[in-house]
């Protein structure tokens, strides 16, 4: 189920433009104004922290502490970027690469497993199917601490703590992705098509890889995107299983830098802010580029 995007056309001349639905709440001018003022206020509230962050990333140390936070003062963005990328021998780049590795590879594997599982649950009837599905839904309620602490012990017994595996393996199994994949399969893969392929003599694996996966492109992209965002944003798991700086994610690194400001008298505020801005960029690009997909995912979540 994918919501269609509204094509964005050029807005017509302002003065005669209707902003409200012809059938809607605020047919009066006053009502329309009230709605717009409310929405504009909410937009300002949503956007001003981001604006402040962008402005702060362009300031040198003095300006950061002394100039008006909501307006530019000097232009030191390039110096700040250079500082972020060279501080501690360029560890920031390493963290960026790690975040991409965990979120990218982990979500790709997790999506493939989720699509196969969702397809199996949605289009086959086998004993134990309902048990698996109950596990999937039940696991939404499990607190992270309950899983993360024993996982840490498990991984340390296997010698995997502080290696990328400790982040990648948990990403492979994502119950919410399985739930989404099942719903998508039910909506997009008809039984008749599978029957026809079987009559033509195609094997089950071939049917899955060359027919089902192709039909599930949209669903798969949504599952991947949501898993990617989740992994990129993860904090408690990496904090627990990644002990050394080398394997940290961007989030962990920035968190560590905010603490350093306090501990050793070095002022890292400017670095943290520029780094924070940088860490938003890939996420924003991805969300905007794939907004059609994740909207359908969010909507699906709402249909439970």
């Amino acid at each position: 189920m994918v919501l269609t995007e509204h094509p964005t056309e050029r807005p017509p001349v302002r003065s005669v433009r209707r902003l409200t639905r012809p059938d809607a709440a605020s047919r009066g001018r006053g009502g329309q104004r009230f709605l717009l003022v409310g929405l504009i206020l909410a937009s300002v509230y949503s956007l001003f922290p981001v604006w402040w962050l962008i402005v702060a990333a362009t300031k040198d140390r003095t300006a950061l502490y002394q100039s008006n936070g909501l307006w530019f003062s000097g232009w030191h963005l390039w110096d700040n970027l250079q500082q972020v990328f060279t501080y501690q021998d360029g560890i920031f780049l390493r963290w960026t690469a790690n975040s991409f590795l965990y979120a990218g590879v982990g979500s790709l594997g997790g999506t493939l497993i989720a699509l196969a599982t969702g397809y199996g649950l949605a289009r086959f009837d086998f004993p134990g199917r309902n048990v698996i599905f109950a596990c999937v839904v039940g696991s939404f309620l499990i607190p992270i601490a309950l899983l993360t602490l024993p996982l840490y012990l498990l991984f340390s017994a296997l010698g995997m703590v502080d290696t990328p595996w400790a982040m990648l393996i948990p990403c492979l199994i994502n119950p919410f992705s399985v739930y989404l994949a099942k719903v998508y399969t039910e909506a997009t893969v008809p039984y008749e098509l599978l029957e026809a392929a079987r009559i033509d003599g195609a094997g089950e694996l071939r049917i899955f890889f060359s027919i089902v996966l192709r039909m599930m492109t949209t669903g798969g992209a949504t599952v991947f995107l949501l898993a990617f965002v989740n992994t990129w944003n993860a904090f408690f798991l990496p904090l627990t299983v990644l002990r050394g700086k080398e394997n940290w994610t961007l989030n962990l690194g920035l968190y560590n830098w905010t603490g350093t400001r306090l501990e050793s008298g070095i002022d890292l505020t400017g670095l943290v802010l520029t780094g924070a801005l940088l860490s938003i960029v890939p996420m924003a690009i991805m969300m905007v580029a794939m907004r059609r997909y994740w909207r359908s995912g969010v909507t699906l979540g709402a249909l439970k």
Partner: protein, 294 residues
């Protein structure tokens, strides 16, 4: 379905099953097992520790641990204030959007979703700096208006964190509620208007009951998140260790017991307790909210 086909279908779920056992069932089982033991230091702590079976002692200790119970109470009280407040704003914004033409609505929707695109930890870093009296713009604005704001004062920590969570969550919840609103059959409004219902009345009597399910879902998701809140207080603690103690929220306590105090068995018992409390809270919330509908 033919027998062999059944098993082939089941085979598609095997990788997930294996992973689920390894990453979910095994850790939960292990946490429960560990929670029944305790480590006793022999002598002066110079010898090795011995592990003893103590049954439910750790749980008894957890239930009478005032720091842990206070942290749960603190988070629950906070949830009772912040979640309804956030959902009310999200609902209002969704109703506002629903009244606009779809093109204008989609513009605003993207703007309001910007906070959701920002990772939680980064959002907390941004707000901690906005609150900061040294670099943040809010303190000077307060001064200009004649207020002396200190966002890190003990009485202000929860409002400060609440504002950050509200900022981060409004857009996401609004989208879920707005999607549900799109499902209201439009001819219902026409019928209501013909009967002389005002727009406010339509919103109250048709639209809000219709998005009930979405509100219950967003409420449930928010409660689950709130009981496990960790990132934001941990970041505040980075800045103001004197106001945010290391036993501020349940997960902070569990983390400290496991990794700083080394009481792994006790930490395991506390996480099982928290899971049970979470389950009960979700169940109660679900029952209460669906009861009202009958």
């Amino acid at each position: 379905m033919i027998r062999s086909l059944r098993w082939k279908g089941a085979a598609f779920t095997v990788p997930f099953q294996l992973g689920f056992v390894f990453l979910y069932l095994l850790p939960i089982g292990y946490a429960v097992y560990e929670s029944l033991f305790t480590e006793k230091q022999s002598g002066l702590g110079l010898g090795g520790a011995t592990t003893e079976f103590v049954g439910l002692d750790n749980y008894g200790q957890g239930l009478t641990d005032s720091a842990f119970m206070n942290s749960i109470l603190r988070v629950v009280l906070f949830a009772c204030v912040q979640i309804p407040f956030m959902l009310l704003i999200s609902l209002l914004l969704a109703l506002f959007l629903d009244a606009l033409t779809s093109r204008v609505a989609s513009r605003f929707r993207i703007l309001l979703l910007v906070p959701y695109m920002i990772p939680g930890v980064v959002a907390a870093i941004v707000w901690v700096n906005l609150y900061s009296p040294d670099v943040g713009p809010l303190t000077p604005i307060g001064k200009a208006l004649g207020f002396d704001w200190n966002f890190f004062a003990p009485s202000m920590v929860w409002p400060s964190i609440g504002n950050l969570l509200t900022w981060h969550g409004i857009g996401y919840n609004m989208v879920i509620i707005y999607s549900a609103l799109q499902g209201v059959p439009r001819d219902l409004f026409e019928a209501a208007r013909l009967d002389g219902a005002s727009e406010l009345r339509i919103a109250r009597s048709i639209k809000i009951p219709y998005v009930r399910g979405a509100l219950v879902l967003t409420g449930l998701l928010s409660i689950i998140q709130m009981l496990q809140i960790f990132n934001e207080p941990a970041l505040f603690r980075n800045i103001t260790p004197q106001t945010v103690s290391d036993s501020f929220t349940p997960i902070m306590i569990i983390y400290n017991q496991a990794f700083n105090a080394g009481n792994y068995n006790y930490a395991a018992a506390l996480s099982v307790l928290l899971a049970l409390i979470l389950g009960v809270a979700s169940f109660l919330f679900y029952r209460l909210t669906s009861k009202e509908a009958d």
